[in-house]
C-alpha cells in the first residue's frame, strides 16, 4: 500500500510539469549553482543565467538569439563626433521589483545608472568593496576603468558617459552582464540597515522575473514581474532545478521534471534526436578553439613552418573524436555568428605530403616540439588531451615529434602567457559582447602579447586594421576592416584554427519559442508553454 502511495506520488510529480502548463511554471535544469546574484561581481555564465539574464536589464541589450544590440532601459543614444561622449536617453515609467524584502518608492532613473557604474569604477564608493574581495572582474577585464572618464547625470532621464579615447565596441560592452542596472534606492536602504551584502543575495532589478528564493545548491525560484516595461512574461513561475550531472538532467527532462536543459552529453545526442518528447535545438557557439604557436620562437617565427603544420592537422578527425560531431571546422579566428565573419576565407587544406615538402624546403626534416593540453573541458575544446594526441599522430606523419605537456589550469593560464614559452598552446575563447574586437584585439593584438595573445604575435599590418576599426563607429566600415584583418590572419597563421563548437539545447515539446543565446546564456523571457 505504501509502495503504491509512493508510486502515485512520484507519478503525480512526473505529471507535475504537464499539470503546471496551465499555471505556466517552467522548470530549467541548470548545470550549477550561481556564485551570487550581483552579476557585476562575477564572470561565470551560470551566475549570469540566474541573475542578469532574468532579473536585470541593461541600458542596451542583445536582441534575443542574436548578437545585435537593441534599446532596453535606454530608448536611444547619441555619440559625439569625436566618439568620446555617449549620451543615453532613459526609458520612463520603468518599475523596480516589489518583493517581500523591498518595495520601491520611485521609478527607475538616471541615479540608478550612475550608481550601477560608479560602484564599480570609483575605489572609495561605499559599494566598491561591499563584499570581501569584490573584484568587478568584467568591468576591469573590459578595461572600463581606463576607458571611462566619467558617468554623469544630465537630468533624471539622461546620462552621459565620457570616455578617455574613442572605442567603437563601447555600446556592445554596455549590453554585457556587468552593466546590469541596480536600484540605488534599494542599495541605499541596505546600506542604512547595515546589510549591504544582501545586494548579492536578494537582488532587485527591473527585469522580466522577480527573485523569490534560493535554496543553496538546490533550487532558485522566480515570479514573473507583472509590471515589466516590455510586457509580462508568458510564464508565471520560473524554477531553476540545479542538476550538475548531464545524464541526470536528461533523465529529468524525459521524466517531465524539467522543460529545458543545457549542456547535454554528446553521447546522448542521437537518442535525443529520436525522442518524441524532446526537441533538440542547435546553433553554432560564439567561440573558437585554436592551437597558438609561439611566433617569437624559432622555427615557429617562420610563416611557412606554421602554414605547413596547419596543413598537417586532420581537423575532421578531431571533430569526430573530440567534439563527437558537436562542432564545425574553424577557418577564421572569429565564429560565424559574429558580424564581419568572412565566410569565403579558405582554410589550410589537410595535406600531409605537401606539409612535409614545405617543411623540407625550410630545412626541417625532423623537429621536436611541445603541445600544451588544457586540463579542463571547455565548449571550444571538450577534451584537449585527446586533441593533442591526435595532433601528435598527425605531426608524426610529417616528421615532427610532439611531446604533450599539461599543467593545473591556473598554472596553465599563467605559464602559457610567457613570451619565451616553449611549445604551442591549445586554448580558445568565448565571446563576451559579440564584437569582433573582442576576439581580434583581445587575442591577437600587439597589446595582448605576454597576456591573452598566446601566439605572442604582433604583426603591424593586422594591428593597423584592428586599431582603425576600434575608433570608427560606422559598422559597414568596421566590417570591411575586420574582413581584411581575417585575410591577413590566415596568411600569417599565428594559430591553427580548429573548431567552433555547436551548442545543443534539448527542450520538451511543449516549450514554445526558446531561442539559443549566442553568448551561451539561457533566457526565459519570450518563452511560452503549450
Amino acid at each position: 500500500m505504501k509502495k503504491f502511495a509512493i508510486a502515485v506520488a512520484a507519478g503525480a510529480m512526473a505529471l507535475g510539469v504537464a499539470a503546471s502548463a496551465q499555471a505556466k511554471t517552467l522548470v530549467y535544469c541548470s548545470e550549477g549553482s550561481p556564485e551570487g546574484f550581483d552579476p557585476a561581481l562575477y564572470t561565470a555564465g551560470t551566475t549570469f543565467d540566474a541573475s542578469s539574464r532574468q532579473i536585470f536589464n541593461k541600458l542596451v541589450e542583445f536582441e534575443r538569439g542574436t548578437t545585435k544590440v537593441a534599446p532596453a532601459l535606454a530608448t536611444s543614444y547619441d555619440v559625439s563626433d569625436d566618439g568620446l561622449e555617449y549620451t543615453f536617453h532613459l526609458r520612463k515609467g520603468v518599475k523596480f521589483h516589489s518583493t517581500d524584502f523591498f518595495t520601491p518608492s520611485r521609478d527607475f532613473n538616471a541615479d540608478d545608472v550612475v550608481f550601477s557604474f560608479e560602484r564599480q569604477r570609483v575605489k572609495d564608493h561605499p559599494y566598491n568593496a561591499y563584499v570581501s574581495g569584490a573584484a568587478w572582474e568584467y568591468f576591469d577585464g573590459m578595461s572600463m576603468p581606463d576607458l571611462i572618464k566619467s558617468v554623469e547625470k544630465v537630468d533624471d532621464y539622461t546620462v552621459k558617459f565620457v570616455l578617455n579615447r574613442p572605442e567603437a565596441p563601447m555600446i556592445a560592452n554596455l549590453a554585457m552582464d556587468f552593466a546590469s542596472i541596480q536600484s540605488k534606492e534599494y542599495a541605499d536602504k541596505l546600506a542604512a540597515d547595515g546589510k549591504m551584502e544582501l545586494l548579492n543575495q536578494q537582488p532587485i532589478g527591473t527585469g522580466p522575473f522577480k527573485f523569490q528564493a534560493y535554496q543553496k545548491d538546490a533550487v532558485i525560484r522566480y515570479q514573473a514581474n507583472d509590471s515589466y516595461w516590455d510586457g509580462k512574461a508568458a510564464i508565471d513561475t520560473l524554477i531553476f532545478a540545479i542538476t550538475p550531472d548531464a545524464s541526470v538532467r536528461y533523465q529529468k527532462l524525459k521524466a517531465g521534471e524539467c522543460h529545458v536543459m543545457p549542456y547535454p552529453n554528446p553521447a546522448d545526442l542521437d537518442t535525443m534526436k529520436g525522442d518524441g518528447d524532446v526537441t533538440l535545438l542547435s546553433q553554432e557557439g560564439l567561440n573558437v578553439g585554436y592551437l597558438a604557436y609561439n611566433t617569437k620562437v624559432a622555427p615557429f617565427d617562420n610563416v611557412k613552418v606554421r602554414k605547413a603544420l596547419n596543413m598537417a592537422i586532420n581537423k575532421e578527425a578531431i571533430l569526430d573524436a573530440v567534439f563527437q560531431g558537436a562542432g564545425k571546422v574553424a577557418a577564421n579566428p572569429i565564429p560565424p555568428t559574429i558580424w564581419s565573419y568572412k565566410a569565403d576565407l579558405a582554410d589550410d587544406p589537410y595535406d600531409p605530403e605537401a606539409a612535409k615538402k614545405m617543411l623540407a624546403e625550410e630545412g626541417i626534416t625532423s623537429l621536436d616540439m611541445k603541445i600544451w593540453a588544457m586540463p579542463v573541458q571547455r565548449p571550444y575544446n571538450p577534451n584537449a588531451k585527446r586533441m593533442a594526441e591526435l595532433m601528435q599522430a598527425d605531426f608524426a606523419k610529417v616528421g615532427v615529434n610532439v611531446e604533450i605537456v599539461q599543467f593545473e589550469w591556473g598554472e596553465y593560464l599563467k605559464r602559457s602567457k610567457e613570451v619565451d614559452r616553449d611549445g604551442a598552446v591549445l586554448l580558445g575563447w568565448t565571446g563576451d559582447n559579440g564584437d569582433p574586437d573582442n576576439f581580434l584585439a583581445v587575442l591577437l593584438g600587439c597589446d595582448a602579447v605576454g597576456g591573452s595573445n598566446r601566439a605572442q604575435w604582433c604583426h603591424q599590418p593586422f594591428e593597423d586594421l584592428i586599431q582603425k576599426a576600434k575608433i570608427v563607429s560606422d559598422t559597414a566600415e568596421r566590417t570591411k576592416l575586420y574582413e581584411q584583418a581575417q585575410v591577413v590572419f590566415k596568411e600569417q597563421a599565428p594559430w591553427a584554427t580548429i573548431a567552433h563548437s555547436v551548442v545543443y539545447m534539448p527542450v520538451r515539446k511543449e516549450v514554445v519559442d526558446y531561442k539559443i543565446d549566442p553568448f551561451g546564456g539561457h533566457i526565459f523571457y519570450g518563452v511560452d508553454l503549450k
Binding site: A10, T43, G133, A135, D217, T243, V248, W409, G451
Partner: protein, 355 residues
C-alpha cells in the same frame, strides 16, 4: 575504594568517586581535543594550499589579468602575506567562531555549512538505516544457512554491492526505476510543486511542518534512490560483518547450552546469539558513518542533493580556500565531538573503561 574493607561503602560516597572519575575522564578527553583541534586547523589550512593552482588566476580564466591587477587582488585577498601570518589570522578567526567568507559566493562559510549540513545528515542517516535494517537480517540468515545456497546468494550479492561503482549504480537506478518504471523522481529533495522556507533543514521534518499536503510523501520518494545508492556499500559491509560475528557466536558453548535447554530457535538466535554478535557490528556501523561522507560526495553530485559533499568538491575545484579549510575543520570538529560522546557513553555503560 575509599571505604576499604570495612564493609560496603556508603553509596553516596561511591557515587561521589564515580562522578570524580567521570569528570577526570571528561577533562582528559577534552584536554586531548585541544591539540587535535589545533592539528585539524593546521591540516585543513595546509591541505588546500598544497594543491597547485592560484585562486586569483582561476577566477580570471582565459581572460587573464595584468600583473598590476593580479598583485593588487592578491593583496586584497591577503594571499601575498606569509603563510604563518595567514594561518594565525585564520586561527584567530576560528577562535571567535569566524570561519571567513567564501571566495566565490562572499557568504560566511559557517552559514553555508549550516545550510547544507542537514541535507547530508538526513541522507546519511537514511542510508545507514537502510544498511542496518537490511544488512543485519541478511547476515543472520547467511550465518544460519552457512554453506547453503542462501548463504552464497546473500554473500555473493553483498560482494557485488561492495564492489559497485557508485556512479554507475546511481545512473542505472535512475534510468530503470525513475526513467522506465517511473516509481521515484529522478533527483532533488522535493518536488518543485512544494515551496516552503526551511526550518530545520531536514526535508522530512520541514515537509511535515509545512502542512502542505503531499509534501512529506514527496520528500520520502526523493530520498529512496539516493539512500539506496549511498547505503549499498555499508549494507554489504554490515551483512558480511554480521555473518562472521554470528558464526563465531553460534559456535559458543552458551548457545549450545541454550539449544540443549530446548529454547526455540528464534530465542536462541534472536536473543542469545544476535545480542552478542551485535557488539562488533555496532562498531562497524560506527566506522561506516565516517565512510559515508566519502560516498556522499558522488551521491550528492548525481542526485543533485544539496549537501556538504558537493559543496566541498566545488570549492576544491575553484580553490575556495576559506570554504575548504572551514568545511574540513567543521567535519573534524563533528567527528571529534561524536567520538567524545561515544567515549563518554562507553564510560557510562562499561565501568571497566572508566577506570
Amino acid at each position: 575504594m575509599g571505604a576499604g574493607g570495612l564493609g560496603p561503602p556508603p553509596s553516596s560516597q561511591q557515587a561521589y568517586f564515580e562522578k570524580i572519575h567521570m569528570l577526570k575522564l571528561l577533562l582528559r578527553r577534552v584536554g586531548l581535543m585541544i591539540p587535535t583541534f589545533i592539528g585539524a586547523t593546521l591540516l585543513s589550512f595546509m591541505f588546500i594550499r598544497m594543491l597547485p593552482g592560484d585562486p586569483v588566476l582561476l577566477m580570471a580564466g582565459e581572460r587573464g589579468m595584468t600583473e598590476e591587477r593580479y598583485q593588487r587582488l592578491l593583496h586584497e585577498f591577503g594571499f601575498d602575506r606569509p603563510y604563518w601570518e595567514q594561518y594565525l589570522d585564520y586561527l584567530w578567526g576560528v577562535m571567535q567562531g569566524d570561519l571567513g567568507e567564501s571566495f566565490r559566493t562572499k557568504v560566511p562559510v559557517l552559514q553555508e555549512f549550516l545550510t547544507l549540513f542537514p541535507a547530508t545528515v538526513e541522507l546519511s542517516l537514511c542510508a545507514m538505516f537502510l544498511a542496518t535494517v537490511l544488512g543485519i537480517p541478511a547476515g543472520v540468515i547467511a550465518a544460519i544457512r552457512r554453506g547453503k545456497a542462501l548463504d552464497h546468494v546473500t554473500m555473493g550479492t553483498a560482494l557485488v554491492g561492495y564492489s559497485m561503482p557508485i556512479f554507475w549504480w546511481a545512473l542505472m537506478l535512475i534510468i530503470v526505476v525513475s526513467g522506465m518504471l517511473q516509481l521515484t523522481p529522478v533527483s532533488g529533495r522535493i518536488s518543485f510543486l512544494f515551496f516552503f522556507e526551511p526550518v530545520t533543514g531536514f526535508m522530512l521534518i520541514d515537509s511535515l511542518l509545512s502542512d502542505q499536503k503531499g509534501a512529506f510523501l514527496s520528500a520520502v520518494s526523493h530520498l529512496i534512490l539516493p539512500s539506496i545508492v549511498l547505503g549499498t556499500i555499508p549494507l554489504a559491509v554490515v551483512a558480511r560483518q554480521t555473518r562472521s560475528a554470528m558464526l563465531e557466536v553460534l559456535g559458543e558453548d552458551y548457545v549450545r547450552t541454550a539449544r540443549a535447554k530446548g529454547l526455540s530457535p528464534f530465542r536462541v538466535i534472536g536473543i542469545h546469539a544476535l545480542r552478542n554478535a551485535l557488539i562488533p557490528v555496532t562498531t562497524t556501523i560506527g566506522l561506516q558513518i565516517g565512510m559515508l561522507f566519502g560516498g556522499a560526495i558522488l551521491t550528492e553530485t548525481i542526485f543533485a542533493w544539496p549537501g556538504i559533499g558537493k559543496w566541498m568538491i566545488d570549492s576544491v575545484y575553484s580553490r575556495d580556500y576559506e570554504v575548504v579549510q572551514g568545511g574540513l575543520l567543521m567535519i573534524a570538529i563533528i567527528v571529534m565531538v561524536v567520538n567524545l560522546a561515544v567515549d563518554l557513553l562507553y564510560g557510562l555503560i562499561n565501568p571497566k573503561i572508566r577506570h
